[in-house]
């Protein structure tokens, strides 16, 4: 809850500007009559506001309208020029978009034919084989499979004659 002085000071500017309701303004005036401190504050506000009249005077600006209308003519010329340019610009943008799209398609097709699409094995068995082959490739064992198979054949009973 603000004190009476705080309240009066918060509405003092509006009171000096005549922007308070008559009943509120009356209450403020009544407070000022009995409060020296708020009266001094009000005087300072008034005086500092009055000092603003000392701001530099605004210089005159002869023939402003004439210059303004000349600028409007320039503005109209510019927008007429821009609207003349616009159809060409739109046409150029359409041609550039179509050319870009076509180039993208050609490039995509070339990449596709060069690399081929990655194929995913269909059945679980094929997937297993594919995984094994990948492992063997990673471990550089693929080249040795032929050797291992040859050794298997040598060791089998049919080849060695053990089973005979």
């Amino acid at each position: 809850m603000p004190s009476p002085c705080q309240w009066v000071r918060s509405v003092l500017a509006a009171c000096l500007d005549g922007e308070l309701k008559p009943s509120t303004a009356k209450a403020v005036r009544r407070h000022l009559e009995g409060c020296e401190s708020c009266r001094a504050h009000a005087r300072l506000l008034k005086e500092s506001w009055r000092l603003l009249d000392e701001a530099p005077p605004v210089p005159g600006c002869p023939r402003f309208t004439e210059r303004m209308m000349a600028r409007i003519v320039e503005e109209k010329d510019l927008s007429a020029f821009a609207s003349r340019l616009r159809p060409h610009r739109v046409r150029r943008q359409v041609v550039a978009s179509v050319a870009g799209l076509a180039a993208g398609l050609v490039f995509g097709f070339a990449v596709y034919t060069w690399t081929g699409l990655p194929t995913e094995p269909a059945s679980p068995v094929e997937r297993e084989v594919s995984r094994n082959v990948s492992f063997l490739e990673d471990a550089d064992l693929l080249d040795e499979i032929a050797v291992i198979e040859a050794m298997d054949r040598l060791m089998s009973p049919d080849e060695t004659g053990d089973g005979a």
Binding site: A13, L45, S48, A55, V58, P59, F64, M68
Partner: protein, 219 residues
């Protein structure tokens, strides 16, 4: 004199339209909307002094004020097709004027920041001579131009919204309600803005109130 424009503007008054449409300048703007360029010319003729005056209060440079006033009327010219007479013409025009002025002030401040950064790099970060604190005290025999400068500085030191409210209230004589419509806030907010602005101005100009030449002594 743009007779056709005047006829349109007067017709709005004759028809007893209320509010914004009863505004003579609104009539001119509506005539201009119907491609009556003379109406625009009359709008410029009638309002340019106020627009230049308002901008000058913000930026204090006569040449820039004229350039920016042209920018304001150019914006009005470009906005003719979308203009709707929902408020007084002056409210709309002053809103554009305040925006253009504040934009100019901001870009000026940015330029100043750039310059001061450049200067720092030129001089290095070493110790600098401190300003003489006495030099900030107001001269007892303040000349008129110096006092004008102090007042200008005090206004320009206010936060943006307070500055706009003060300039519109003090120099355009606008009511709190009109200021609220111009800057897009409530009347209560304007009341609070102006209360704080007046307090700030009092603090900044306090010494000049007491020591200004031939001025009334307050205490």
């Amino acid at each position: 004199m743009a007779k056709a424009a005047v006829a349109v503007a007067k017709s709005y008054e004759r028809e007893g339209r209320r509010g914004a449409a009863a505004d003579y300048d609104v009539g001119l703007m509506l005539a201009f909307q119907k491609d009556n360029e003379l109406a625009f010319q009359e709008l410029v003729e009638r309002n340019h002094s106020r627009v230049i005056g308002l901008i000058y209060r913000f930026i204090s440079d006569a040449s820039d004020a004229e350039d920016l006033a042209q920018e304001v009327f150019l914006r009005i010219y470009r906005a003719r097709k979308t203009y709707k007479p929902t408020a007084k013409f002056s409210t709309w025009m002053f809103r554009i004027t305040a925006n253009v002025s504040l934009n100019a002030l901001r870009s000026r401040a940015n330029r100043r920041d750039d310059v001061s950064i450049d200067q720092m790099s030129d001089f290095g970060d070493g110790p600098r001579a401190m300003p003489d604190p006495d030099s900030r005290l107001p001269d007892l025999h303040l000349h008129q131009s110096e006092l004008q400068e102090k007042v200008r500085e005090a206004i320009q030191a206010l936060p943006e919204k307070q500055q706009v409210a003060v300039i519109l209230n003090k120099y355009e004589g606008m009511s709190y309600a009109d200021i609220a419509r111009t800057i897009g806030c409530t009347t209560m907010a304007v009341k609070s803005l102006l209360a704080r602005a007046r307090d700030n101005l009092k603090d900044r100009l306090l010494l000049y109130i007491r020591t200004g030449r031939g001025r009334q002594r307050v205490s």
